[in-house]
């Protein structure tokens, strides 16, 4: 893309994009590590996921401040304006994704008898899809790629299908083994969190599409 006549404008936008990329990287790692902690019962790892979520909050505040500064100082127009508004919204959404990962990590200590749970094999597979959505949608933002963004949106169906299947699985588990209700309910929340992460990745994809083309993707 051609440079702005005012070079500092380009520097601001590059920095904003860098912050979003950094947030995306942190959120993706948080999902993966929360999942690893959940499966292995590693409470130290879970605690470090919770601790590192603070960094995401700090970065979100930086994104907000920088985006507001750019709008105030540069009065951006057209694709610049769309990109800055998208970054502002994406920052908020990625921070929420981090919160869901943190919430999963917080539940690690409350799962008992994890070897018995069949859903515990489905949940990491679901998490892989969700984490990959987060990864790819931020790649789409970095590359200003609306095609990849639409592709990510389509993948949300897969996450929803996982959720339905895990839900049914856990309910029948609870019916058959009332002693597992407490742990199974925790896992239900985990699956729910992953499902929300998929939805949020979809929201990010819509913003990427908007930033690139000025329109929201069709058939939302």
């Amino acid at each position: 893309m051609q440079e702005h006549t005012v070079k500092a404008f380009d520097e601001d936008i590059t920095r904003l994009r860098g912050l979003i990329a950094e947030m995306g990287g942190l959120a993706e790692v948080a999902i993966e590590e929360a999942m690893r902690a959940l499966v292995s019962g590693d409470e130290d790892l879970a605690a470090s996921v919770v601790e590192r979520d603070k960094k995401l909050d700090v970065l979100e505040a930086e994104v907000d401040a920088l985006a507001i500064r750019i709008i105030a100082l540069r009065a951006p127009m057209a694709d610049d304006l769309r990109e800055i508004i998208a970054a502002l919204k994406i920052g908020g959404v990625v921070e929420r994704i981090g919160d869901y990962a943190k919430n999963i990590a917080k539940r690690v200590g409350s799962i008992e008898g994890r070897k018995r749970f069949e859903p515990l094999t489905l949940i990491p597979a679901m998490a892989d899809v969700a984490a990959e959505m987060v990864h790819d949608v931020l790649t789409a933002f970095a590359a200003r790629d609306p095609v990849l963004a639409r592709e990510v949106i389509e993948r949300d169906e897969k996450v929803d299908a996982f959720y339905d299947s895990i839900f049914r699985n856990l309910v029948s588990y609870m019916v058959e083994n009332p002693a597992t209700i407490s742990s199974a309910a925790q896992l239900l929340f985990v699956a729910r969190n992953l499902e929300r992460i998929g939805d949020h990745a979809t929201n990010v994809a819509e913003m990427v599409h908007f930033a690139a083309l000025g329109t929201l993707p069709p058939d939302r």
Binding site: E3, T5, A78, R82
Partner: protein, 256 residues
Amino acid sequence: MVTETQPKMRTRDVTVSYGDKVAVDSVSIDIPSEYVTSFIGPSGCGKSTFLRALNRMNDTIPTARFQGHIELDGEDIYRSKMDVVQLRARVGMVFQKPNPFPKSIFENVAYGPRIHGLAEGKAELDTIVEKSLRRAGLWDEVKDRLADSGTTLSGGQQQRLCIARAIAVQPEVILMDEPCSALDPIATAKIEELIDELRGRYAIVIVTHSMQQAARVSQRTAFFHLGKMVEYGHTSDIFTNPREVRTKDYITGRYG
């Protein structure tokens, strides 16, 4: 190209040259009556020349040559029998620097209606002057000093006086050539507010270097570059999602 139900002015393949230099190159546009239309573009892009073609102001420049076709309510304004003085009353103009006559505030506004025979007697003239000054948002500031010279007003007031002067002859179209570029931000805001109030009553065309101003006051925007009209559309589309790369580069500050 935006199609309007009933354009106030219609231009087809308008080309204006100064000697050998083509300033405006084959511009076709419909000016709506119910909206404010802004012309934007870098210096020398032809937007002011094109604006001045709309009321034949370029006729006064000996080297200027006009080709093409411009209609006002379907009437060819470049036909030989056209009364140019009458045309400029119907299509009024406000310039970059406020240019009140060196006469009283009252006379500045009364002059037009008087020479065009729009008022019968002093009472009616008074009414026209008051109404025009009110409409230009200046009445309350000048009603007690109508006999003072127009040049004693502040820059922003002078510009509103010029707008009142244009309004007084009951124009159908008001052309504004960078009307705020010599004004401070408060006076600018007052003019913008005024433009918004006048919208609907007159077709308004404004040339401006401030893209924020174009975005704020107009509903239609045309982008000019090197004499051509590159893009014309709804202002909100032009500033959020322009179709043409040249428009985008200009409004995002990447031009040149």
